[in-house]
Every structure is written in structure tokens, then in C-alpha cells.
Subunit: 129 residues, 6 copies
């Protein structure tokens, strides 16, 4: 099933601290093609494009996930990835606070508690601005 | 409190593998009229209309719930109902994958894990395309 | 860090049955400025304005939270606050039912179960219309 | 096609300054049943319930529509209805401003321009707080 | 720039009554890669999969677009495509009405007016159930 | 009515190529306090914080607005501001394309046409990657 685009996506995901098996395994019995599409398209096609570096991409991704809502699982992964590619905890916190103007308090408050939990797991608390 | 429309809705719900008591009972002390409206309007008026069969309705319902987000409870019920009215696990999986183009990955991924859990409860894994 | 606007917000929150420390404490290590902004702006600037009383504000707040989705934490707080400022359980239930026309069944059903849980905690069940 | 619930809804709508024909006519060739359902359910069942007066219902409705987005047509109607049932321009403005905390600036700003347009049509500008 | 996946997507789109040039041309000066991704992924990868026929896919697509909101442009295209692949006007109308239970009246009402406009352009009014 | 926070916000907005009068004037007769809050809080408090530079803030803002939907007016302003603070057309295009994975095609396609229109107004077409 593996394609060149999928391999490229898996490699990009690894640079972000992720493991393609964590997408492939839970979908194996229900929708292996979904895992393939995520690997090929999201990580293989989109995340490997030039034009924005990975820190910029994680900034945009976090902003989108906070705004969308019902994305705790995704925020947890992408905040971890943001740290791996070099965004600081303070930059992530600042991005979420910034969204008070656009997404409203509930989205921001919920996302900040996810960020806190990720930072705690990585022993990054307290965040120093 | 029971009306003809409500009885018709309860019967329709039963065809879908549901039990109107699972709507009535949890709302009994807080909002019995909400249970009545859901029975009368959603299941009695809308779900009993001609023009689309129940498999088409469950296709549309699942697509709406995936897109809306924060609907795990409803997806669990309506994926079960979809199976009961004759959609196959493969058709349900395919519907959710299709929404990658319209609702984005987070909605699709979360919904697929709900589908997997429903299929596991009914001993329907692995899904064969 | 405390400002006049923040103190005013904390006082308003107290009138609503809340405690600013429940916002400040969980954010202390991750984003103390977010707690300050919520205190200053949402509760200090907006919630203290004349023109609507607190019961009207809680009506509008609950309608917004139900519609937004993924707001269980906020609904729990604001339904409690609605009771504290004088809305009856029946008025809160009625507001949520009203939203069937605008936000769809899933949002309404999920919110009603949160309301039921809040009412149960305050020994307010059954709700009498 | 007219039912008792529909007639009751049409009467309620008239109290709100609306005209059921403005719903029936544009849908006549495409979906007359949709007009019937809106008349019967939204206006006949929901809007005629006791427990909240029409000013409270319009407060909740406006809050829901602002938060939902892509509702200019509905906001225009329901802000007009809010004025007809006795909410003042200042109360409507205050409700929209209140939502800065929950729905974010873009939703609030767009809705306020709709309110301004409705007030201008009714010669209610400037709004005095 | 053309790939096998893109060619397959363009062919699929043509079966749906669309023309890939209507995606390529407006994006040519701003984001040709976006046109390529839409052709390759949405139409080439997703829309050509077995497991659901095109009528089922258009049912799901319309349900998703109605629920998402702010999708008039997309609804116009996909309602046209739904007709081309064999859904009847009555089935499309019925799908939109069905969503009253899940997406709320404003989304349904706005979508129905788009459907009416598409049907009028194709001389398909009045719709006979 | 002018406060230190408002003046700071107006100055920040000017750095972004905006003019506070374009917010103040249209709201003057309907909701001058809304203009004050936007100036004080969004531009005065949030946009002047350290921790993220203006290019990072505009990246996050655009991602949030694309995802939220029904934000054409805001996208038009903030894409212009993004250019003013130094993001290139190619970076803006890339940010919008990136969101295919998170917000779905309709949000991305609509936003790209807004970007194209802004770039055309500033004679920045074609965009060179």
C-alpha cells in the first residue's frame, strides 16, 4: 500500500515528532485508506511544501484547530509537534491568547488547558513569557 | 402526552433499531417536551417522509453529524441505525472518508474512531471494502 | 497584576456565583494573562455594562454556547450562573428547547443533558414548567 | 395543507411583525412542505410555548444567529421581530456586543452592521444607550 | 503539471457535469497548486473510489455543505452535479428538508433557496414530490 | 471616549495599514462602544503583546478566519494587513492551501478567491511561489 507520497509524509511526520504508525494502527481494521490519505495528502503533499517552514505551519494549524473546536485529540498532537519543530511554549500560548479576538473565550480556554496538559507531560511548566 | 405523530416517530425509530424510551427516560425529569418534539418532529414528521429511503437518510445524517462536530453521542446512535437499515460498514466508512474534501481531517478522523467503536461492539471488524 | 477592571470583573463574577480563582488558578502556570483578560474584558468590561440585566445576559450566553458546540465546561458554569442570578430551571430548559429551530437537535440534546446534571447537583429535579 | 399548528404559527409570526406568506411564497414551487414545517414547528410549536416571553425568545434567537454565522437573512428578520415585540435598539445592540466574549469579533461586527441596516430602515438611528 | 490522478479527477468531474477549467482558470494566477490538489485529491482520489455511487456521494456532499454553512458557491455546483448524476429535484429537496433535525432552520432555508435557483436555471420548477 | 489602550490599538492598526476610523465611523450611530472595545482589546491589548511578531499574528489570524467561515470582510482586511507587515503573497497563499487538511475545500477555495481579489487590487498578480 505504501507509495512515494506516503513515505515522504511519514518522514515529515517523524520530523514533527510523530509516528505514522499511530495513525495507521488505529485505522487498520476500519479504514486503512484513510491512514494512507492522511499520510499521502496532509503530511506528504501539504506538509512538505516549501513556502512556509514547519514553525509557521504549526502556528496556522493550531489557530485552525482552536477555531474549529472539538479537536482536543488533534490539538494535543499538533502542540507537541509545534514544540518539536521549535516553537516555544510561550509562542504557543501567545497564539492561543491571540485568538480571543477571533474565536471567542470558550475555544481559547479549552485549548489552553490542552496546551497546559501537553506542557506538563513534557515538564515545561511554568511557561515563562 | 402521546400523539399520533409521536407514535409514528417511535415506530420509525424502532425500525432503525432505536428505542424511544432511550430518549424519553433521560429527559423525563428535565425536559419531557424535548423528548416529545424529537419523537414527533424528527422521527415522526421528517424520518417518515417518502422521497428518500432510510439508507439515503442515514447517509445524509452521518454526513451532517461528521461536519457539525461535537456529535459523538449522535454519531454512535446514527451509525448503529445506518447498519440496522442496511448500509454496510464499508458504505459508512466510505461516506466518512468522502468528507475529507469538505469537513477536514479532524472531523473525519474523530468520526472514524466512533464508527470503529460501533463496528467493534457489533463484531463487524475488520471492515472489508 | 490586578487592575481596576479585573477587580470589577471578579466582583461581577462573584455576583454570578463564580470565583475568579477558578479561572486564575488553572491558568497560573500556563497563561496568567489569559485569566487577566477574561477577568478584565469578559467580566469587567462586558458583564458590568448596563442595558441588559444579568438574567438577559445569561439567556444570551446560554443560547450562544449551545449553538457554538464543544462548550460543556462553559455551559456548566453559565447554567449555574443563570440560576444564581435568578433564571428558573424552567426558563433555562425553555431557552434550550427554543434552539431546536436554530441550532439543530444534537446541540440541543447535548446541552439539555448538561443542564440536567447541573440541576441534579443543586437538587432542582424534576423541573416543573 | 393548512393545519391548526400552522395557523397558530402564522398568527404568532404576525405578532412578531412577520408574514407567513413571505415564507410560503418563495418556497411554493420548490418545497412547500418546508414552509409548512417552519410554520408548524418553529412558529406554531416552539414560539407559542409559555415559559419565555417573546422578548426573551428574540434575545436567545439573536444570540444563536450571531454565533452560527452565515445568517444575514435570518438576523434581518429576527432583529425586526425583536423590535416589534418590544426589545429596544439599545438592548439588541447590547446583546450583540455581549457576544464578543463567546463568538469572537468577526461574528459580532458583521451582525452589528445588519442591525444598523435594520435600524436605518426603521429610522431608529442613532441608537441611544 | 498534469498528473494521472489529476486527469482521472478531471474525467470524474466531467461525468458530474463540471469542467476542471472552471477550477483551474480562476486560480491560475493566484494558486495553481490548489487547483491541482482539488483535481487530484477531491475528484481524482476520493470521488473515483468504489463503495458509493455518485448519487450517494452527492447526497453526502449536499448534507455536509448545508451543515457547514457559507457554501453557496459549492452548493450551486454540487446541486447541479447531483442532478447530472441522476438525483431528482425531489430527492435533493428531501435531503435538505431532512437536515432540519440536524443543522437548524437557517442553514436549511438558505440552502433551499440555492436549490430553487439551480432548478430554475435548468427549468425544473415546480418540483413535484 | 479615547483611552490609552484605544490609542495604542489605533497606532498598532496603523502599522498594519489600517485606519481606526474605518471601524469607528460605520459603528458611530449604532454601537460606538463596539468600536472602542475592538480598538482597546483586539488591537490595543492583544495585537501589541510581545511574544509573536505581526507576521506570525497575521498567519494565525488568517488561519482562524478561513476556518471560521463567513468572514470575507475580515479576510479582506487581514490579508491586506498581512501584506503590509511583510508576509509575501506566496506565504499567504501557502497558509490557505495548508488548511485543506483542517478546514476542508470550501473554506479554502472561498478564501483563496478573496486573497486573489486583494492581490489584484495591489497589483500583485501573478503570485510567484
Amino acid at each position: 500500500m505504501s507509495t512515494e507520497r506516503f513515505e515522504r509524509g511519514a518522514a515529515r511526520l517523524a520530523e514533527m515528532g510523530g509516528d505514522i504508525d499511530n495513525i495507521v494502527a488505529p485505522l487498520a481494521e476500519v479504514a486503512p485508506d484513510l491512514a494512507r490519505f492522511v499520510g499521502e495528502f496532509a503530511f506528504g503533499d501539504l506538509y512538505t511544501r516549501p513556502g512556509l517552514d514547519l514553525r509557521q505551519r504549526q502556528l496556522a494549524t493550531i489557530a485552525a484547530l482552536v477555531t474549529l473546536g472539538d479537536t482536543e485529540r488533534q490539538l494535543r498532537f499538533h502542540i507537541n509537534a509545534a514544540l518539536t519543530v521549535g516553537l516555544t511554549p510561550a509562542e504557543i500560548v501567545e497564539t492561543i491568547i491571540h485568538l480571543l479576538a477571533f474565536a471567542g473565550n470558550p475555544r481559547v480556554f479549552n485549548a489552553m488547558l490542552v496546551a497546559k496538559s501537553v506542557f506538563a507531560d513534557r515538564d515545561l511548566l511554568p511557561v515563562v513569557g
